[in-house]
Amino acid sequence: KLIKNLANMSSKERMKAIQKTPKTMKEKREIRNKVLVEKMKKSGSYTTQINCCTQCLYKTSLSYRRFKNVLSGFLSSLQLWQKTLKVIGGKFGTSVLSYFVFLKWLLTFNIFSFLVNFSFITIPQLIAPGPNNLSFNGQELLTGAGYFRKTVLYYGFYTNSTITNNSSYNMQLAYIFTIGIYFIICFFSLVYSMAESFRKNFINPQMYSGSAAKLLCIWDFNITNEKPVKLKQSNLSTQIKESLSEVTFEVLHLSLKQKLARIAVHLIVWVASLGTTAACCAGVYFLSRNNLRPLEGKSELENEAAALVLPVVVSLLNLCIPFCFALFGLLEKFQYPRHQLYVTVIRNIFLKISIIGILCYYWLNDVATSEKECWENIIGQDIYRLIVVDFIFCLLGSFFGEFVRRIIGTKCCKKLGVPEFDIARNVLDLIYTQTLAWIGIFFAPLMPAMQIISFFIIFCVKKVSLMRNCQPPRKVWRASQMTTLFIFLLFFPSFSGVLSVMAVTIWRRTPSKQCGPFQGLPSVIDAVSGWIHTLDSYSGSKWVGWIYRNLIGSVHFFFILTIIVLIITYLYWQIIEGRKIMVKLLREQIVNEGKDKMFLLNKLQHLQTSKRDAPEEQVV
């Protein structure tokens, strides 16, 4: 019957079903052979004509599958760093591995963006470049200005005309469509990863503190080195001893006074953190406004140095304020250590996003509306400097945070010990850099190339630093839940913020009049509307104009779409609620069945003993 079922499925489903069966390999191969024979028999019962057709189809599908397998084999051989990830997982476990996997995943975004931008925007521009009469001295690598101003790195270099080499290539449309389509693809892939991660990892977040799960699901099969295994075993035994000896603090009855005191402390710390964040943002804003005023009477070198002050200050704030937050956090007491981690992550991400937010406000409000000649270039250079300085600080932070700390921990005060790898801080740094890079794509299309280089170097440096300086983490770190949280943070404040900045730039800001692909237009989106206008003159493509005006351009359409989505969401939510109730009922049913079973077994035993006693009585 199994074979009949399998024969009826399509080949892909059949493969999946066979792969999932928990039998030995020999049995699986036998099943597969039988299924194939069955399929042959079925197809053989038709006439010979149809037999030929199905044979052809079967052969083509087989060769297509072989080709797909070859392709996937090739792609998996391109996988970067497989061995390194294995070694890291073997020595430090899944939690630290999740940071490096996240880094690799962000790297694919940047590689994709670089390929897209380079092929569709940069290469056409390189065919017809403008003149560049500036000289190159080494400072450009740090400040991004100077020679780089007139290269393909920045927005200002791109022409607004149609490049005619052999065929005409409309640079304006290419620029806006490439960047638009890239962001749409990023959006969908982020939503997909987030949904998949959420589905796998948030099935039932409660009851993890149960010792059953701790015992049977906690062993990390990834770890393959002797010392980490021993360390993990001793950690586990300590944890188990602690949890046995402690009073369960799930039910902590605090008096009203204590509860109020705790809430007051939480409030004070939150106010302090938010106040610090606000102060930092104000400082950053005033510092950046200073940058806008040209410095007369100072040499070129001092000007460049002044330009670097803002990025250095921002990076210092990003580095030091989290430590202040940690200090504030020492005052607080949490019921679950998990909550402390979440609160720390939220405060830090709030700080980073606020700083980026205030910088975007400065860029879009002050720089874009100032009468500077090429404001997009200025923003591009600012972002370049921010990213470069942040990269340098990341390397320095790795050096001081881990290397020097290890020296201190092992030579000077032995009590401190070897540092642990701080996963949360490092991942938030990655999210911060990636947000900046995404904002920078519009103003400096080759920004992803810089990100690729910096991520490569960061991976290697962090790996070396990890291997030499850190020890495996001692506390329980729910890797999959934290990864879901980080992907969500990447989507919600980070990517959505980038989309809003892009929206404001494209719809509400006038492009500069003398540089860039959109020079002279009243707004960037006018390039697209102008193109739709020209399409209207061709009778064959009037439908494009119709779609643009009535679907994308009209408010009613989005309103109706939103209502439909909300209704569907509500329906799914109700279905989920219903299923939860059903799960509860079924679970109670299982418990009842167990009780019934015990009752019947007891009764059976009772009857058997009474039967045994009864004949004995008769005999007596």
């Binding site: 699901c217 075993q233 046995l244 167990g594």
Partner: protein, 187 residues
């Protein structure tokens, strides 16, 4: 495309690809690993499907398994005879289930087999005690071990028979989202 390998026929590679989560290249690489464990016993040419089994002592010395406290149970769970002697089929099967593409249900089935030390299809108290000893390297006292095992059974046993059936185990696994990523051995 390059040098034609003669370790497996095409049909065999297709069969392996259909029945496991590995690609051709990975299967050939696995064969290389299997072969290098005992080059004089394992033939290079597998086209005739030779019936060769490697004993458990060789397999638990693989670097991926050497330090794992459950190495013997893992190999025994995947062997056909239950003694831990793996043919190449079983070897590929083992790493396929332990790879990251295997679904949760399949991993749960084999994890249950691994933790079931006395192979009676239930995880009873003695199985849990042995698991706990392996996890903590016997650093706990006998009292603590009994306490923990009782707590586990109390929490996870739904039908009240004092031992964990596969359904109880699967229910517990569903509450631990890390299971998929920790029950994973890279090869």
């Amino acid at each position: 495309m390059g040098n034609k390998q003669t370790i497996f026929t095409d049909e065999q590679l297709d069969a392996y690809q259909d029945c496991t989560f590995f690609t051709r290249k990975e299967i050939l690489r696995l064969h290389g690993r299997y072969h290098e464990m005992a080059p004089n016993i394992v033939p290079m040419d597998y086209t005739q499907d030779p019936d060769v089994k490697l004993p458990i002592q060789l397999i638990i010395n693989m670097p991926e398994l050497k330090e794992n406290p459950f190495k013997e149970r893992i190999v025994e769970a995947f062997s056909e005879d239950g003694e831990g002697n793996l043919s190449f089929n079983d070897f590929v099967d083992m790493f396929s289930v332990l790879s990251e593409m295997a679904p949760r249900e399949l991993k749960a089935i084999y994890a249950f087999k691994i933790y079931d030390f006395n192979t009676d299809n239930f995880i009873c108290k003695s199985d849990l005690e042995k698991t706990l000893n392996k996890l903590t390297r016997e650093e706990l006292t006998a009292e603590e071990i009994t306490l923990v095992c009782e707590k586990v059974i109390e929490e996870a046993d739904m039908d009240g028979d004092g031992k964990l059936a596969f359904a109880d185990f699967e229910n517990m696994i569903s509450k631990a989202p890390d299971f998929l990523s920790t029950f994973h051995i890279r090869i």
